[in-house]
Symmetry: C2
Subunit: 384 residues, 2 copies
């Protein structure tokens, strides 16, 4: 399963000693071909980690033969030495795997910002991981990239003779552009890098880009899609894009479901917006409102905080035409008091907020989490 | 003191029964002249409370003879009935005070959004407050506008023969444009409404607008400046503007110092920015980063989260030239590891973060708070 569900891929996940607690911390994903087409999407944060800068360059060639991923250190804000370390990682993998150049090896890192990676442990770890490469190694690879994740995250969609599978990590610093995450998707469909790129961008735009756990944008976000072509099948583009989106959607939902300290997953649907951009802007503003996030944690259908968040946006709407439903109860109608808030049942983990802008026909869904004391504890008690 | 420090003003604060717990909840501030010049600044939230819509109209005339303020209910998102209630409040005050029209009575409300005010209690409260009007009533008025504030907030600056004084409330939903607050400033200087307006806008731009406790923007923010002219002195404009700014700065600092659940006041100074706008944008981005706010709560000098926040902005900077100091220790230099983070002492309530963009000569200071479990508890345990 995971990144080895598709034919033509092997993977491994091992403990290289990067994490002090001895947990798995190094993953290797290898595309055995025959094709090595690839596409990638990276953080839009202008402060980018060394592996992001490296992998962006690699992806420009449209070919990736392997990905080295580590947890236990983000290798971000580490200066020229950090970049040299990423380069050395790719060189080492190219040497161990044989027949590949470092320019085809993508690298991704996650963990604390501002600390150099222990290369004396990481480089030997690549030898160890290469020795354990297997067509059943996907689960172990998914486990090795976990940081504060409580579960590893994988997803697979199989269509007529071809498959898209993937793994993801991410539990904090989840926000658009993208959620803080490392994601590797693989497929045995025979698709060129341009086709992969289009499918991947279309998918991330409506999945990972619409996950906003805590409004914080990472320096390390990386989503890669690798195609081996091993199935020998070239699917219809729309069908392929749909499969990629389905896997991304599944993984994005798992990220929200495992967000640090969260007790609620909040599905924010903005409807009747004048444009999709308006719908996304309003959805994000609601998703990032700390007071609302606290209210949801307290199971309080505090729709005034929803209106207050909508009011900070530039979207097209009239305040006295806004409607808001929480878990299906229209507690706000025409910008004022609607149905009895006592009717809202917020006991379950999923909470649905619908904001009706009454200004058009477009819509968007943003996923967020509540704000909890556990989130504060987890993010104040130790550096991450 | 407070709003009655300046000559020509009387005030009162009483319990009208709007708050169920019987605490003071209605304040009245009256300008006895001879001049009734006034200026006001209001929330930039597009969802505005009824009293904001009302008072914006009143201020267009440039004259305010009295202000009625209530806690215990925001009268926001209350539809046409809510606006009628504000109108009735102004009419009642005009009738009780005699010789004034409702069009000169400003109204401000604070409390839960989406609930109609109990007018059967509020209107008789105006009679009661009018009966208690006194040149020593400023403190009681400041107490009557408190919501989750733990202390009432007042400030006074006296210059050669004239005074600027004021009161403020606000403890949550503190964010620019403006912090969630009601503020009434009074002066006995003889300044016309245009002069008041210029001084007030200049002051709020660099004080209340740069306070960002929790990133949430209120529907009710109101800052009023009333001049009685009772001193008979017309100060130099710059000197007057400086006094108004000093009072605003003092009150803004008190708001941050009493923010809901906060354990730290964070002074974020952005220096060497290409423009003041850049400095403010970067300061706000740092101020709103929940992960950083948690780290400060945990007394963790996590400068990586500062860089991550800077990276989300559009400001002019090069990632490898950024420097960050926490409490005077330059923990990040040139976008990478700087001085030993162990040197940073974060035990005290005030934490100073300096972000050096190395891109110009402009600067700005933003004040924020940490994110704590107490904040979550206070904002999830009850509706506010």
């Amino acid at each position: 399963m995971s990144v080895t569900a598709a034919q033509g891929f092997t993977a491994a996940g091992i403990a290289a000693g990067i994490k002090e607690n001895g947990n798995p911390d190094l993953a290797l994903v290898v595309n055995d071909g025959p094709r090595h087409a690839a596409a990638g999407v990276f953080t839009s944060n202008r402060v980018k980690a060394a592996p992001v800068l490296w992998s962006e360059q690699v992806l420009k060639g449209g070919e990736v033969s392997a990905v080295v991923l580590n947890s236990g250190g983000a290798n971000a804000c580490t200066g020229p030495k950090g970049f040299q370390d990423t380069h050395a990682t790719a060189e080492k993998a190219a040497q161990v795997l044989e027949g590949h150049s470092a320019g085809e090896i993508a690298v991704a890192s996650t963990g604390l910002i501002g600390v150099l990676l222990p290369m004396d442990k990481l480089l030997p770890g690549i030898d160890k991981a290469a020795a354990e490469l297997s067509a059943h190694g996907g689960e172990k690879a998914a486990i090795a990239i976990m940081t504060t994740d409580t579960v590893h995250k994988t997803a697979v969609v199989t269509r007529d003779g071809w498959t898209v599978g993937g793994m993801a990590k991410g539990a904090g610093m989840l926000a658009p552009g993208l959620a803080t995450m490392l994601v590797v998707l693989t497929t045995d469909a025979d698709v060129d890098s341009a086709g992969l790129d289009e499918a991947l961008r279309d998918a991330t735009r409506v999945t990972f880009d619409r996950v906003d756990s805590d409004g914080c944008m990472s320096t390390n976000d990386t989503v890669l899609l690798l195609a081996s072509g091993a199935s020998g099948i070239t699917p219809d583009h729309d069908e392929f894009a749909d499969a990629v989106r389905a896997v991304c959607d599944d993984l994005a939902r798992r990220l929200i479901g495992d967000a640090e300290g969260a007790s609620k997953d909040i599905r924010i649907e903005v409807v009747n917006a004048a444009s999709e951009d308006d719908a996304v802007e309003v959805g994000r503003s609601i998703a990032r409102n700390n007071l609302l996030k606290c209210a949801v944690h307290g199971e309080d259908p505090n729709w005034g905080r929803v209106l207050s968040a909508i009011g900070t946006t530039g979207a097209v709407f009239e305040p006295d035409r806004l409607n808001v439903a929480i878990n299906g109860v229209w507690v706000c109608r025409n910008g004022s008091v609607g149905e009895d808030r006592e009717l809202v049942d917020m006991r379950y983990r999923e909470v649905r907020i619908t904001a009706d802008l009454a200004a058009g026909a477009e819509s968007a869904v943003i996923w967020a989490n509540d704000l909890t004391a556990d989130y504060v504890h987890e993010n104040s008690a130790y550096s991450s």
